[in-house]
Protein backbone atom coordinates (compact mmCIF):
# COMPACT_ATOMS: atom_id res chain seq x y z
CA UNK A 1 0.00 0.00 0.00
CA UNK A 2 1.37 3.37 -0.90
CA UNK A 3 2.32 5.24 2.25
CA UNK A 4 0.45 8.36 3.05
CA UNK A 5 2.82 11.25 2.55
CA UNK A 6 2.49 14.86 3.49
CA UNK A 7 1.74 15.56 -0.16
CA UNK A 8 -1.09 13.03 -0.06
CA UNK A 9 -2.37 14.33 3.22
CA UNK A 10 -2.61 17.88 1.97
CA UNK A 11 -5.23 16.51 -0.40
CA UNK A 12 -7.42 16.14 2.64
CA UNK A 13 -7.03 19.83 3.27
CA UNK A 14 -10.31 20.54 1.64
CA UNK A 15 -12.10 18.68 4.40
CA UNK A 16 -14.69 20.77 6.12
CA UNK A 17 -12.88 20.28 9.38
CA UNK A 18 -9.88 22.08 8.03
CA UNK A 19 -11.93 25.23 7.64
CA UNK A 20 -14.27 25.05 10.62
CA UNK A 21 -13.18 27.58 13.19
CA UNK A 22 -9.80 27.75 11.47
CA UNK A 23 -9.23 31.46 11.55
CA UNK A 24 -5.57 31.03 10.73
CA UNK A 25 -6.25 28.94 7.64
CA UNK A 26 -9.06 31.08 6.25
CA UNK A 27 -7.12 34.27 6.66
CA UNK A 28 -4.05 32.75 5.10
CA UNK A 29 -5.99 31.60 2.06
CA UNK A 30 -7.76 34.92 1.94
CA UNK A 31 -4.47 36.72 2.26
CA UNK A 32 -2.97 34.70 -0.57
CA UNK A 33 -5.95 35.34 -2.77
CA UNK A 34 -5.88 39.06 -1.96
CA UNK A 35 -2.21 39.21 -2.85
CA UNK A 36 -2.68 37.17 -6.00
CA UNK A 37 -5.46 39.50 -7.09
CA UNK A 38 -3.02 42.37 -6.85
CA UNK A 39 -0.67 40.60 -9.23
CA UNK A 40 1.51 38.78 -6.70
CA UNK A 41 2.51 35.68 -8.66
CA UNK A 42 4.31 34.14 -5.72
CA UNK A 43 1.01 34.15 -3.83
CA UNK A 44 -0.63 32.35 -6.73
CA UNK A 45 2.15 29.79 -6.74
CA UNK A 46 1.46 29.12 -3.06
CA UNK A 47 -2.22 28.76 -3.88
CA UNK A 48 -1.29 26.22 -6.54
CA UNK A 49 0.92 24.35 -4.09
CA UNK A 50 -1.90 24.19 -1.59
CA UNK A 51 -4.67 23.07 -3.92
CA UNK A 52 -3.04 21.24 -6.83
CA UNK A 53 -3.25 17.78 -5.31
CA UNK A 54 -6.91 17.82 -4.25
CA UNK A 55 -7.85 19.36 -7.59
CA UNK A 56 -5.97 16.83 -9.70
CA UNK A 57 -7.33 13.97 -7.59
CA UNK A 58 -10.86 15.20 -8.05
CA UNK A 59 -10.48 15.66 -11.79
CA UNK A 60 -8.83 12.27 -12.14
CA UNK A 61 -11.76 10.63 -10.38
CA UNK A 62 -14.04 12.27 -12.90
CA UNK A 63 -12.15 11.65 -16.13
CA UNK A 64 -10.20 8.48 -15.21
CA UNK A 65 -7.11 9.35 -17.26
CA UNK A 66 -3.92 10.66 -15.68
CA UNK A 67 -2.56 12.78 -18.53
CA UNK A 68 -5.93 14.27 -19.21
CA UNK A 69 -6.32 15.02 -15.50
CA UNK A 70 -3.00 16.91 -15.57
CA UNK A 71 -4.06 18.96 -18.59
CA UNK A 72 -7.41 19.76 -17.05
CA UNK A 73 -5.74 20.73 -13.76
CA UNK A 74 -3.58 23.20 -15.66
CA UNK A 75 -6.69 24.57 -17.31
CA UNK A 76 -8.40 24.90 -13.93
CA UNK A 77 -5.62 26.97 -12.42
CA UNK A 78 -5.23 29.13 -15.50
CA UNK A 79 -8.94 29.91 -15.43
CA UNK A 80 -8.73 30.59 -11.72
CA UNK A 81 -5.86 33.02 -12.31
CA UNK A 82 -7.74 34.82 -15.05
CA UNK A 83 -10.91 35.11 -13.05
CA UNK A 84 -9.59 35.80 -9.57
CA UNK A 85 -11.02 39.27 -9.59
CA UNK A 86 -14.49 37.91 -10.18
CA UNK A 87 -14.32 35.96 -6.91
CA UNK A 88 -16.84 37.52 -4.54
CA UNK A 89 -15.50 39.11 -1.39
CA UNK A 90 -15.97 36.63 1.43
CA UNK A 91 -16.56 33.64 -0.86
CA UNK A 92 -14.65 30.49 0.03
CA UNK A 93 -11.82 30.14 -2.43
CA UNK A 94 -11.55 26.34 -2.41
CA UNK A 95 -15.24 25.94 -3.16
CA UNK A 96 -14.93 28.38 -6.04
CA UNK A 97 -11.82 26.59 -7.35
CA UNK A 98 -13.54 23.21 -7.22
CA UNK A 99 -16.46 24.72 -9.08
CA UNK A 100 -14.04 25.61 -11.88
CA UNK A 101 -12.52 22.13 -11.76
CA UNK A 102 -15.98 20.58 -11.98
CA UNK A 103 -16.80 22.68 -15.05
CA UNK A 104 -13.51 21.83 -16.72
CA UNK A 105 -13.99 18.11 -16.08
CA UNK A 106 -17.56 18.11 -17.29
CA UNK A 107 -16.68 19.99 -20.47
CA UNK A 108 -14.04 17.40 -21.20
CA UNK A 109 -16.43 14.52 -20.59
CA UNK A 110 -19.02 16.16 -22.82
CA UNK A 111 -16.46 16.61 -25.57
CA UNK A 112 -15.41 12.99 -25.30
CA UNK A 113 -19.01 11.84 -25.52
CA UNK A 114 -19.48 13.96 -28.63
CA UNK A 115 -16.35 12.49 -30.15
CA UNK A 116 -17.47 9.03 -29.14
CA UNK A 117 -13.99 8.48 -27.78
CA UNK A 118 -14.98 7.55 -24.22
CA UNK A 119 -13.99 4.06 -23.29
CA UNK A 120 -16.74 2.84 -21.04
CA UNK A 121 -15.52 0.95 -18.06
CA UNK A 122 -18.58 -1.18 -17.80
CA UNK A 123 -19.58 -4.08 -15.64
CA UNK A 124 -17.65 -6.60 -17.73
CA UNK A 125 -14.43 -4.65 -17.41
CA UNK A 126 -14.90 -4.49 -13.66
CA UNK A 127 -15.60 -8.23 -13.54
CA UNK A 128 -12.49 -8.89 -15.64
CA UNK A 129 -10.38 -7.22 -12.99
CA UNK A 130 -11.21 -10.08 -10.68
CA UNK A 131 -9.22 -12.51 -12.79
CA UNK A 132 -6.05 -10.59 -12.00
CA UNK A 133 -6.93 -9.92 -8.41
CA UNK A 134 -4.47 -11.12 -5.80
CA UNK A 135 -5.52 -11.93 -2.31
CA UNK A 136 -3.55 -11.79 0.89
CA UNK A 137 -3.60 -14.95 3.05
CA UNK A 138 -6.39 -13.56 5.21
CA UNK A 139 -8.57 -12.95 2.14
CA UNK A 140 -7.94 -9.23 1.85
CA UNK A 141 -7.64 -7.92 -1.65
CA UNK A 142 -4.19 -6.47 -2.09
CA UNK A 143 -4.20 -2.70 -2.16
CA UNK A 144 -3.16 -2.24 -5.75
CA UNK A 145 -6.01 -4.39 -6.98
CA UNK A 146 -8.45 -2.76 -4.60
CA UNK A 147 -7.47 0.60 -6.05
CA UNK A 148 -8.29 -0.75 -9.50
CA UNK A 149 -11.62 -2.15 -8.34
CA UNK A 150 -12.61 1.13 -6.71
CA UNK A 151 -11.52 3.06 -9.77
CA UNK A 152 -13.49 0.78 -12.03
CA UNK A 153 -16.59 0.97 -9.85
CA UNK A 154 -16.29 4.75 -9.74
CA UNK A 155 -16.06 4.92 -13.51
CA UNK A 156 -19.22 2.91 -13.85
CA UNK A 157 -21.27 5.48 -11.95
CA UNK A 158 -23.13 8.08 -13.97
CA UNK A 159 -21.61 11.52 -13.98
CA UNK A 160 -23.80 13.16 -11.36
CA UNK A 161 -23.39 10.32 -8.89
CA UNK A 162 -19.64 10.13 -9.52
CA UNK A 163 -19.35 13.88 -8.97
CA UNK A 164 -21.21 13.84 -5.69
CA UNK A 165 -19.57 10.63 -4.45
CA UNK A 166 -16.08 11.93 -5.20
CA UNK A 167 -16.68 15.28 -3.54
CA UNK A 168 -18.15 13.70 -0.44
CA UNK A 169 -16.19 10.52 0.11
CA UNK A 170 -12.78 11.42 -1.34
CA UNK A 171 -12.71 15.20 -1.01
CA UNK A 172 -14.65 15.22 2.29
CA UNK A 173 -16.75 18.24 1.33
CA UNK A 174 -19.86 19.14 3.30
CA UNK A 175 -23.29 18.92 1.68
CA UNK A 176 -23.42 22.69 1.62
CA UNK A 177 -20.11 22.93 -0.23
CA UNK A 178 -21.09 20.21 -2.67
CA UNK A 179 -24.31 22.04 -3.41
CA UNK A 180 -22.34 25.20 -4.09
CA UNK A 181 -19.78 23.44 -6.29
CA UNK A 182 -22.24 21.41 -8.32
CA UNK A 183 -25.29 23.65 -8.34
CA UNK A 184 -27.37 20.66 -7.16
CA UNK A 185 -29.98 21.01 -4.46
CA UNK A 186 -29.14 19.33 -1.15
CA UNK A 187 -32.00 16.79 -1.48
CA UNK A 188 -30.80 15.81 -4.97
CA UNK A 189 -27.21 15.39 -3.89
CA UNK A 190 -28.23 13.33 -0.86
CA UNK A 191 -30.25 11.03 -3.10
CA UNK A 192 -27.43 10.73 -5.63
CA UNK A 193 -24.93 10.07 -2.89
CA UNK A 194 -27.06 7.38 -1.31
CA UNK A 195 -27.56 5.64 -4.65
CA UNK A 196 -23.88 5.98 -5.50
CA UNK A 197 -22.96 4.28 -2.24
CA UNK A 198 -25.30 1.40 -2.98
CA UNK A 199 -23.87 0.94 -6.45
CA UNK A 200 -20.28 1.14 -5.25
CA UNK A 201 -21.02 -1.36 -2.51
CA UNK A 202 -22.58 -3.74 -4.99
CA UNK A 203 -19.60 -3.53 -7.33
CA UNK A 204 -16.91 -3.75 -4.71
CA UNK A 205 -18.35 -6.41 -2.40
CA UNK A 206 -17.56 -9.42 -4.64
CA UNK A 207 -13.85 -8.55 -4.55
CA UNK A 208 -13.50 -8.18 -0.86
CA UNK A 209 -12.33 -11.06 1.26
CA UNK A 210 -12.99 -11.79 4.93
CA UNK A 211 -10.86 -8.87 6.04
CA UNK A 212 -12.61 -6.22 4.03
CA UNK A 213 -16.27 -6.97 4.20
CA UNK A 214 -18.58 -4.17 3.23
Amino acid sequence: MKRLTAADAIGLESRPGAHRGAGTLMNSSEELVTRARRGDDEAFRLIFERYARPVISFIYDMVEERELAEELTQETFVRAYKNLRSLREGARFSTWLFGIAKNVARESLRARRRDGSRICLDEQAVLDLSSDASYAPDGRLLDKELNGVIQGALGALDEDKRLVFTLKVFQQRSYEEIAEITGFSVPKLKTDLHRARIEMRRRISPYLGAGNEV
Partner: protein
Protein backbone atom coordinates in the same frame (compact mmCIF):
# COMPACT_ATOMS: atom_id res chain seq x y z
CA UNK B 1 -35.20 7.14 18.10
CA UNK B 2 -36.54 3.98 16.41
CA UNK B 3 -34.78 1.79 13.87
CA UNK B 4 -36.98 2.96 11.02
CA UNK B 5 -36.00 6.56 11.83
CA UNK B 6 -32.37 5.67 12.28
CA UNK B 7 -31.66 3.86 9.01
CA UNK B 8 -32.40 6.77 6.63
CA UNK B 9 -30.14 9.03 8.69
CA UNK B 10 -27.22 6.65 8.83
CA UNK B 11 -25.41 8.05 5.78
CA UNK B 12 -25.62 11.57 7.15
CA UNK B 13 -24.46 10.36 10.54
CA UNK B 14 -21.39 8.75 9.03
CA UNK B 15 -20.82 11.91 6.97
CA UNK B 16 -21.00 14.08 10.08
CA UNK B 17 -23.85 16.07 8.60
CA UNK B 18 -26.52 15.66 11.26
CA UNK B 19 -27.30 18.49 13.63
CA UNK B 20 -26.28 18.04 17.23
CA UNK B 21 -29.66 16.87 18.52
CA UNK B 22 -30.14 14.25 15.82
CA UNK B 23 -26.54 13.16 16.20
CA UNK B 24 -26.93 12.54 19.92
CA UNK B 25 -30.24 10.81 19.44
CA UNK B 26 -28.86 8.48 16.81
CA UNK B 27 -25.72 7.77 18.80
CA UNK B 28 -27.88 6.82 21.78
CA UNK B 29 -29.92 4.48 19.58
CA UNK B 30 -26.77 2.81 18.22
CA UNK B 31 -25.60 2.14 21.75
CA UNK B 32 -28.80 0.20 22.41
CA UNK B 33 -29.63 -1.41 19.06
CA UNK B 34 -27.40 -4.20 17.79
CA UNK B 35 -28.73 -4.33 14.24
CA UNK B 36 -28.41 -0.59 13.66
CA UNK B 37 -24.97 -0.67 15.25
CA UNK B 38 -24.00 -3.43 12.80
CA UNK B 39 -25.23 -1.31 9.89
CA UNK B 40 -23.23 1.63 11.17
CA UNK B 41 -20.16 -0.58 11.49
CA UNK B 42 -20.53 -1.70 7.86
CA UNK B 43 -20.70 1.89 6.67
CA UNK B 44 -17.72 2.80 8.80
CA UNK B 45 -15.67 -0.05 7.35
CA UNK B 46 -16.69 1.03 3.91
CA UNK B 47 -15.34 4.50 4.67
CA UNK B 48 -12.09 2.91 5.84
CA UNK B 49 -11.76 1.08 2.55
CA UNK B 50 -12.28 4.25 0.57
CA UNK B 51 -9.78 6.00 2.80
CA UNK B 52 -7.18 3.53 1.47
CA UNK B 53 -7.90 4.42 -2.14
CA UNK B 54 -4.72 5.70 -3.74
CA UNK B 55 -4.49 7.22 -7.16
CA UNK B 56 -1.33 6.88 -9.18
CA UNK B 57 -0.84 10.65 -9.37
CA UNK B 58 1.93 13.08 -8.63
CA UNK B 59 1.93 16.84 -8.66
CA UNK B 60 5.24 17.37 -10.41
CA UNK B 61 7.17 20.63 -10.77
CA UNK B 62 6.47 20.33 -14.49
CA UNK B 63 2.79 20.88 -13.79
CA UNK B 64 3.47 24.22 -12.13
CA UNK B 65 5.89 25.13 -14.92
CA UNK B 66 3.17 24.50 -17.47
CA UNK B 67 0.63 26.55 -15.49
CA UNK B 68 3.06 29.42 -15.11
CA UNK B 69 3.91 29.39 -18.81
CA UNK B 70 0.24 29.62 -19.71
CA UNK B 71 -0.32 32.40 -17.19
CA UNK B 72 2.54 34.38 -18.73
CA UNK B 73 0.91 34.00 -22.12
CA UNK B 74 -2.41 35.22 -20.73
CA UNK B 75 -1.01 38.18 -18.80
CA UNK B 76 -0.87 40.73 -21.65
CA UNK B 77 -4.54 40.10 -22.28
CA UNK B 78 -5.63 40.66 -18.71
CA UNK B 79 -6.65 44.05 -17.29
CA UNK B 80 -4.06 45.52 -14.88
CA UNK B 81 -4.36 44.39 -11.27
CA UNK B 82 -6.45 46.84 -9.32
CA UNK B 83 -4.85 48.48 -6.34
CA UNK B 84 -7.23 48.64 -3.46
CA UNK B 85 -8.04 52.02 -1.95
CA UNK B 86 -5.81 53.09 0.91
CA UNK B 87 -8.46 52.41 3.53
CA UNK B 88 -8.99 48.85 2.29
CA UNK B 89 -5.24 48.25 2.11
CA UNK B 90 -4.79 49.40 5.68
CA UNK B 91 -7.57 47.12 6.83
CA UNK B 92 -6.18 44.20 4.83
CA UNK B 93 -2.74 44.80 6.32
CA UNK B 94 -4.26 43.88 9.68
CA UNK B 95 -6.30 40.99 8.32
CA UNK B 96 -3.67 38.47 9.43
CA UNK B 97 -4.57 39.25 13.03
CA UNK B 98 -7.97 37.68 12.34
CA UNK B 99 -9.87 40.78 13.39
CA UNK B 100 -13.04 41.55 11.53
CA UNK B 101 -12.75 44.69 9.38
CA UNK B 102 -14.94 46.63 11.81
CA UNK B 103 -12.84 45.57 14.74
CA UNK B 104 -9.67 46.29 12.81
CA UNK B 105 -10.91 49.79 12.00
CA UNK B 106 -11.73 50.28 15.68
CA UNK B 107 -8.25 49.07 16.62
CA UNK B 108 -6.71 51.54 14.19
CA UNK B 109 -8.77 54.36 15.62
CA UNK B 110 -7.68 53.37 19.11
CA UNK B 111 -4.04 53.39 18.01
CA UNK B 112 -4.44 56.86 16.63
CA UNK B 113 -6.00 58.08 19.87
CA UNK B 114 -3.32 56.44 22.00
CA UNK B 115 -0.61 57.84 19.77
CA UNK B 116 -2.09 61.31 20.05
CA UNK B 117 -2.35 61.00 23.82
CA UNK B 118 1.30 59.93 24.09
CA UNK B 119 2.33 62.79 21.90
CA UNK B 120 0.41 65.21 24.09
CA UNK B 121 2.00 63.82 27.25
CA UNK B 122 5.47 64.19 25.78
CA UNK B 123 4.72 67.69 24.66
CA UNK B 124 3.52 68.63 28.12
CA UNK B 125 6.57 67.01 29.69
CA UNK B 126 8.91 68.88 27.43
CA UNK B 127 7.12 72.12 28.23
CA UNK B 128 7.49 71.35 31.91
CA UNK B 129 11.19 70.69 31.51
CA UNK B 130 11.62 73.88 29.57
CA UNK B 131 9.80 75.78 32.32
CA UNK B 132 11.90 74.11 35.00
CA UNK B 133 15.08 74.97 33.13
CA UNK B 134 13.98 78.53 32.75
CA UNK B 135 13.17 78.82 36.49
CA UNK B 136 16.40 77.10 37.53
CA UNK B 137 18.59 79.20 35.30
CA UNK B 138 16.82 82.30 36.48
CA UNK B 139 17.17 81.41 40.16
CA UNK B 140 20.41 79.51 40.68
CA UNK B 141 22.05 79.05 37.32
CA UNK B 142 22.10 75.22 37.68
CA UNK B 143 21.39 72.79 34.90
CA UNK B 144 18.59 70.35 35.50
CA UNK B 145 19.09 66.75 34.44
CA UNK B 146 16.41 65.40 32.22
CA UNK B 147 14.13 62.94 33.99
CA UNK B 148 15.16 59.30 33.79
CA UNK B 149 12.63 56.60 33.02
CA UNK B 150 12.75 53.94 35.65
CA UNK B 151 12.72 50.17 35.16
CA UNK B 152 13.91 50.34 31.61
CA UNK B 153 14.82 46.91 30.48
CA UNK B 154 18.12 46.49 28.68
CA UNK B 155 17.55 47.02 24.99
CA UNK B 156 16.56 43.93 23.04
CA UNK B 157 15.65 41.75 26.02
CA UNK B 158 12.48 41.03 27.85
CA UNK B 159 11.75 38.30 30.33
CA UNK B 160 8.46 36.49 30.41
CA UNK B 161 7.37 33.58 32.52
CA UNK B 162 10.79 32.08 32.82
CA UNK B 163 11.39 32.07 29.07
CA UNK B 164 13.98 34.49 27.89
CA UNK B 165 13.57 35.91 24.44
CA UNK B 166 16.75 36.91 22.79
CA UNK B 167 15.89 39.32 20.07
CA UNK B 168 18.73 39.59 17.68
CA UNK B 169 18.24 41.49 14.50
CA UNK B 170 14.55 40.77 14.52
CA UNK B 171 15.08 37.05 15.02
CA UNK B 172 13.27 35.26 17.78
CA UNK B 173 15.20 32.46 19.35
CA UNK B 174 13.53 30.22 21.86
CA UNK B 175 15.60 29.86 24.95
CA UNK B 176 14.72 28.06 28.11
CA UNK B 177 15.94 29.60 31.31
CA UNK B 178 15.90 27.24 34.26
CA UNK B 179 16.56 28.22 37.81
CA UNK B 180 20.28 28.08 37.17
CA UNK B 181 20.16 30.58 34.34
CA UNK B 182 20.40 29.96 30.58
CA UNK B 183 20.43 26.22 30.87
CA UNK B 184 19.04 23.94 28.28
CA UNK B 185 16.26 22.07 29.97
CA UNK B 186 16.84 18.36 29.88
CA UNK B 187 14.31 15.66 30.57
CA UNK B 188 13.13 16.23 34.06
CA UNK B 189 10.90 13.59 35.55
CA UNK B 190 7.42 14.86 36.25
CA UNK B 191 6.26 15.35 39.82
CA UNK B 192 5.16 12.19 41.63
CA UNK B 193 1.44 12.87 41.35
CA UNK B 194 1.70 13.31 37.59
CA UNK B 195 3.84 10.15 37.30
CA UNK B 196 1.20 8.19 39.20
CA UNK B 197 -1.51 9.48 36.90
CA UNK B 198 0.55 8.44 33.90
CA UNK B 199 1.27 4.91 35.09
CA UNK B 200 -0.56 2.64 32.71
CA UNK B 201 -3.04 0.04 33.87
CA UNK B 202 -1.44 -3.39 33.67
CA UNK B 203 -3.47 -5.97 31.86
CA UNK B 204 -2.91 -9.69 31.75
CA UNK B 205 -1.34 -10.50 28.40
CA UNK B 206 -1.08 -13.98 26.97
CA UNK B 207 2.56 -14.29 25.84
CA UNK B 208 1.49 -16.78 23.19
CA UNK B 209 -0.42 -14.01 21.41
CA UNK B 210 1.14 -11.24 19.36
CA UNK B 211 0.11 -8.50 21.74
CA UNK B 212 2.55 -5.72 22.52
CA UNK B 213 3.88 -6.65 25.98
CA UNK B 214 4.07 -4.36 28.95
CA UNK B 215 7.71 -3.34 29.45
CA UNK B 216 8.27 -1.52 32.72
CA UNK B 217 11.77 -0.24 31.97
CA UNK B 218 10.60 1.18 28.66
CA UNK B 219 7.57 2.66 30.33
CA UNK B 220 9.56 4.79 32.74
CA UNK B 221 11.79 5.96 29.91
CA UNK B 222 8.77 6.70 27.77
CA UNK B 223 7.21 8.63 30.65
CA UNK B 224 10.36 10.68 30.94
CA UNK B 225 10.38 11.20 27.19
CA UNK B 226 6.80 12.36 27.15
CA UNK B 227 7.51 14.56 30.15
CA UNK B 228 10.43 16.02 28.24
CA UNK B 229 8.20 16.47 25.26
CA UNK B 230 5.62 18.11 27.49
CA UNK B 231 8.26 20.57 28.67
CA UNK B 232 9.37 21.18 25.12
CA UNK B 233 5.86 21.72 23.93
CA UNK B 234 4.94 23.82 26.93
CA UNK B 235 7.95 26.07 26.42
CA UNK B 236 7.37 26.27 22.71
CA UNK B 237 3.75 27.05 23.37
CA UNK B 238 4.84 30.04 25.39
CA UNK B 239 6.56 31.34 22.31
CA UNK B 240 3.86 30.31 19.91
CA UNK B 241 1.43 33.17 19.88
CA UNK B 242 -1.15 31.50 17.70
CA UNK B 243 -3.93 30.05 19.82
CA UNK B 244 -5.00 27.77 17.00
CA UNK B 245 -1.54 26.21 16.83
CA UNK B 246 -1.41 25.83 20.60
CA UNK B 247 -4.70 23.94 20.60
CA UNK B 248 -3.48 21.74 17.78
CA UNK B 249 -0.24 20.97 19.61
CA UNK B 250 -2.22 20.03 22.69
CA UNK B 251 -4.24 17.58 20.64
CA UNK B 252 -1.09 16.08 19.19
CA UNK B 253 0.28 15.69 22.71
CA UNK B 254 -2.85 13.79 23.69
CA UNK B 255 -2.59 11.59 20.62
CA UNK B 256 1.06 10.73 21.27
CA UNK B 257 0.25 9.86 24.84
CA UNK B 258 -2.66 7.74 23.74
CA UNK B 259 -0.41 5.98 21.23
CA UNK B 260 2.26 5.43 23.84
CA UNK B 261 -0.27 4.00 26.28
CA UNK B 262 -2.21 1.87 23.81
CA UNK B 263 -2.35 -1.73 24.95
CA UNK B 264 -3.71 -4.91 23.48
CA UNK B 265 -7.19 -5.50 24.78
CA UNK B 266 -7.62 -8.81 26.56
CA UNK B 267 -8.48 -11.45 24.06
CA UNK B 268 -7.18 -9.50 21.06
CA UNK B 269 -4.26 -10.72 18.97
CA UNK B 270 -2.67 -7.39 18.26
CA UNK B 271 -2.69 -3.79 19.23
CA UNK B 272 -5.67 -1.84 17.99
CA UNK B 273 -4.55 1.63 17.02
CA UNK B 274 -7.37 2.40 14.62
CA UNK B 275 -8.49 5.34 16.77
CA UNK B 276 -4.96 6.76 16.89
CA UNK B 277 -4.63 6.28 13.15
CA UNK B 278 -7.81 8.21 12.43
CA UNK B 279 -6.83 10.98 14.81
CA UNK B 280 -3.39 11.11 13.30
CA UNK B 281 -4.75 11.59 9.80
CA UNK B 282 -6.92 14.48 10.92
CA UNK B 283 -4.10 16.03 12.89
CA UNK B 284 -1.63 15.53 10.06
CA UNK B 285 -3.87 17.44 7.72
CA UNK B 286 -4.18 20.24 10.26
CA UNK B 287 -0.46 20.19 11.01
CA UNK B 288 0.49 20.71 7.41
CA UNK B 289 -1.91 23.59 7.02
CA UNK B 290 -0.72 25.30 10.23
CA UNK B 291 2.91 24.73 9.31
CA UNK B 292 2.42 26.43 5.98
CA UNK B 293 0.59 29.28 7.63
CA UNK B 294 3.49 29.64 10.04
CA UNK B 295 5.89 29.70 7.08
CA UNK B 296 3.90 32.38 5.36
CA UNK B 297 3.60 34.52 8.47
CA UNK B 298 7.29 34.00 9.37
CA UNK B 299 6.53 32.40 12.71
CA UNK B 300 9.73 30.37 13.01
CA UNK B 301 9.12 28.73 16.43
CA UNK B 302 5.69 27.51 15.35
CA UNK B 303 6.99 26.22 12.05
CA UNK B 304 9.85 24.34 13.69
CA UNK B 305 7.57 22.82 16.27
CA UNK B 306 5.04 21.71 13.68
CA UNK B 307 7.86 20.36 11.51
CA UNK B 308 9.00 18.18 14.38
CA UNK B 309 5.53 16.73 14.92
CA UNK B 310 4.79 15.81 11.34
CA UNK B 311 6.91 12.65 11.01
CA UNK B 312 5.16 11.04 13.98
CA UNK B 313 1.76 11.86 12.62
CA UNK B 314 2.70 10.42 9.24
CA UNK B 315 4.05 7.21 10.76
CA UNK B 316 1.03 6.63 12.95
CA UNK B 317 -1.36 7.46 10.10
CA UNK B 318 0.41 4.90 7.90
CA UNK B 319 0.11 2.04 10.36
CA UNK B 320 -2.31 -0.74 9.70
CA UNK B 321 -5.30 -0.87 12.02
CA UNK B 322 -3.74 -3.80 13.85
CA UNK B 323 0.01 -3.37 13.45
CA UNK B 324 2.71 -5.74 14.59
CA UNK B 325 4.71 -5.26 17.78
CA UNK B 326 7.76 -4.19 15.83
CA UNK B 327 5.94 -1.54 13.86
CA UNK B 328 4.59 0.06 17.00
CA UNK B 329 7.84 -0.31 18.90
CA UNK B 330 9.89 1.40 16.21
CA UNK B 331 7.69 4.46 16.32
CA UNK B 332 7.74 4.54 20.11
CA UNK B 333 11.53 4.20 20.09
CA UNK B 334 11.80 7.16 17.77
CA UNK B 335 9.45 9.13 19.95
CA UNK B 336 11.65 8.34 22.91
CA UNK B 337 14.95 9.15 21.20
CA UNK B 338 13.96 12.15 19.18
CA UNK B 339 11.96 13.81 21.86
CA UNK B 340 15.10 13.90 23.94
CA UNK B 341 17.01 15.20 20.97
CA UNK B 342 14.28 17.74 20.27
CA UNK B 343 14.46 18.92 23.87
CA UNK B 344 18.22 19.41 23.48
CA UNK B 345 17.62 21.50 20.41
CA UNK B 346 15.69 24.01 22.46
CA UNK B 347 17.89 27.06 23.07
Amino acid sequence: MKCEECAPLMDEYVDGELDRKANESLAAHLAACRSCAALYEELRQEQEIYAHYRRDLEVTPALWTAVRARIEEEKPLLPPATVAPLGRRLINAFAFTRFSPALTAAALALLVVVGAALGLVRYLNSRERADDSAVASKGEGKAVDPPRSSDTAPPGRSKEDGVERNKRDGERVISVAGKGGDNVRKNTPPPASVETARRPVRRAVDPAREAVPFEPERESVMSAAVAGADDLLQNAQQDVDDAETARHVERVQLLLRSFRNARAVEGAHALDVSYEKRQSRELLNRNIVLRRDAEISGNVPARELLDSLEPYLLDIANLRDKPSRDEVRSIRERMRRQEIVAALHVR
